[in-house]
């Protein structure tokens, strides 16, 4: 999730993020690894721009039990074309496309009771196009050692790996708490409430999935690292997406476990 700690004016940073969703309720195997390689720039002290090069790797094998042809298992999930459902396994690794992200900090949690920011990211890729917006909220306590943050996410996506593109929209709420327990080290907990809708209108909810897990952050003068693990507590699915639920959890682009690692290097 995003906080309101932005690049100072005129400074650059290189970032690398890896995002792994793994383990779906149907047995078999599903791993979705996404990579974002970014160059971040502080245009002003309250506005930063980041350009990303995106890649992904999907590896699936007999991970779904709700199969269109009635088979006991099939190969499916985010990134797996419908035409490949009958295969024992499917994998693809590719550069996907690019993203451009801007974050505006309207109020600063260091000096204001609540920090507020706006995040916008546009993505163009061979697998998916997306437009994501977030309302960023943050309050700091205890000499800014305790950070409480929330992201309210609205996103529209067009998935292009099937013959017919699929349009979806998302409303997510992310909540996090992080505490500096030692010099250079923060640790905390974060949760995510995820809602998928078919189409762009937010009328037809197809998924609800809840996640929670720990995070840890280390930073020195020359680099920083953040890692998080979000465990899917459970979820529900509705038509036309009800095939994406198995064992009380949501599959699709999600797994039982979501691991995130991000590193950054000021330059």
């Amino acid at each position: 999730m995003y906080t309101l700690d932005l690049q100072p004016k005129g400074t650059f940073e290189i970032e690398q993020k890896l995002d792994l969703n793994t383990g779906q309720g149907g047995g078999g195997r599903y791993n979705l690894l996404k990579s974002k390689t970014g160059l971040e720039y502080g245009d002003t002290n309250d506005f930063q721009l980041t350009g990303y090069l995106n890649a992904y790797s999907v590896n699936a094998s007999k991970n779904y039990t709700n199969c269109e042809d009635g088979s006991p298992s099939c190969t499916s999930g985010w990134g797996v074309p419908g035409s490949k459902a009958g295969l024992n396994s499917y994998s693809k690794t590719s550069i996907d496309g690019v993203s451009l992200e801007g974050i505006w900090r309207l109020t600063n949690p260091v000096v204001d009771p609540v920090g507020v920011g706006i995040y916008v990211e546009g993505t163009v890729g061979s697998y998916a196009n997306a437009l994501e917006t977030r309302l960023l909220l943050q309050s700091n306590f205890l000499d800014d050692r305790l950070i409480v943050a929330a992201n309210i996410v609205g996103e529209i996506e067009k998935y292009k790996w099937n013959d017919e593109p699929m349009e979806e929209s998302i409303i997510d709420v992310l909540l996090g708490v992080s505490y500096r327990f030692a010099p250079k080290w923060f640790a905390g907990v974060e949760g995510r409430i995820h809602n998928d809708f078919s189409g762009y209108s937010l009328k037809n909810r197809t998924q609800l999935a809840n996640f929670i897990g720990p995070n840890i952050h280390y930073a020195s003068k020359d680099w920083w690292m953040t890692a998080a693990w979000r465990y899917q507590i459970g979820g529900q699915c509705w038509a036309p997406g009800d095939a994406d639920c198995m064992g009380g959890k949501v599959a699709d682009s999600h797994g039982a476990n979501h691991f995130i690692v991000q590193v950054g290097f000021p330059i």
Binding site: D5, P8, D144, K221, P266
Partner: protein, 179 residues
């Protein structure tokens, strides 16, 4: 934040003395160097004090700084000036700084001794820290009130301002009554 030679040069001009600055400018000066930079070649006596729980609470309430104040890093000149070293929380590590207080209770100067963050070292520059010269315990000493922020270093500026505030509260309640 790039550790530029111009920043090193501005620190080296303080007091006119040469400084063993670490190449990447993490450590600006030692305690002894800061004493000379602020008060010249004046003899100082280490004067640790015991701060009561009541005064500690006053310091916290006035400044909102919760990091404990180490009261053993206090020195006094023969004329009644005071030199105090304090630490406040930076974004990831501590910022160590010093305050020189004149015998009349006004701030003579503040200096950053150690700064370990990627960004925000503007708080070590005279253009920001000279705002504290002449302030007293009666001053507001609050960022965006009587102390201007330096955008891009807001967290460091806020914590150092709050640190100076709590030191001045301690001076007013404890040091100025000592002989």
């Amino acid at each position: 934040m790039k550790w530029t030679p111009s920043l090193l040069a501005s620190v080296m001009c303080v007091g006119g003395a040469s400084m063993p600055i670490v190449a990447h400018a993490k450590i600006y000066m030692s305690v002894e160097q800061a004493q000379k930079a602020i008060f010249g070649n004046v003899a100082m006596e280490n004067k640790p004090v015991v701060i009561s729980a009541q005064v500690q609470e006053m310091m916290r309430d006035a400044s909102s700084v919760s990091h404990p104040f180490a009261s053993n890093r206090i020195w006094k000149t023969g004329k009644g000036d005071w030199f105090i070293v304090d630490e406040v929380v930076g974004k990831h590590e501590m910022i160590t700084y010093a305050i020189g207080i004149n015998a009349d209770g006004s701030i003579k100067q503040i200096d950053v001794l150690e700064y370990r963050e990627s960004y925000g070292a503007e708080v070590a520059e005279p253009s920001w820290k000279d705002q504290f010269i002449g302030k007293t315990a009666a001053s507001t000493l609050k960022l965006n009130k009587d102390i201007k922020n330096v955008s891009g270093a807001t967290l460091s500026a806020k914590h150092m301002t709050d640190g100076v505030k709590r030191v001045m509260v301690m001076y007013d309640q404890v040091l100025k009554n000592l002989h």
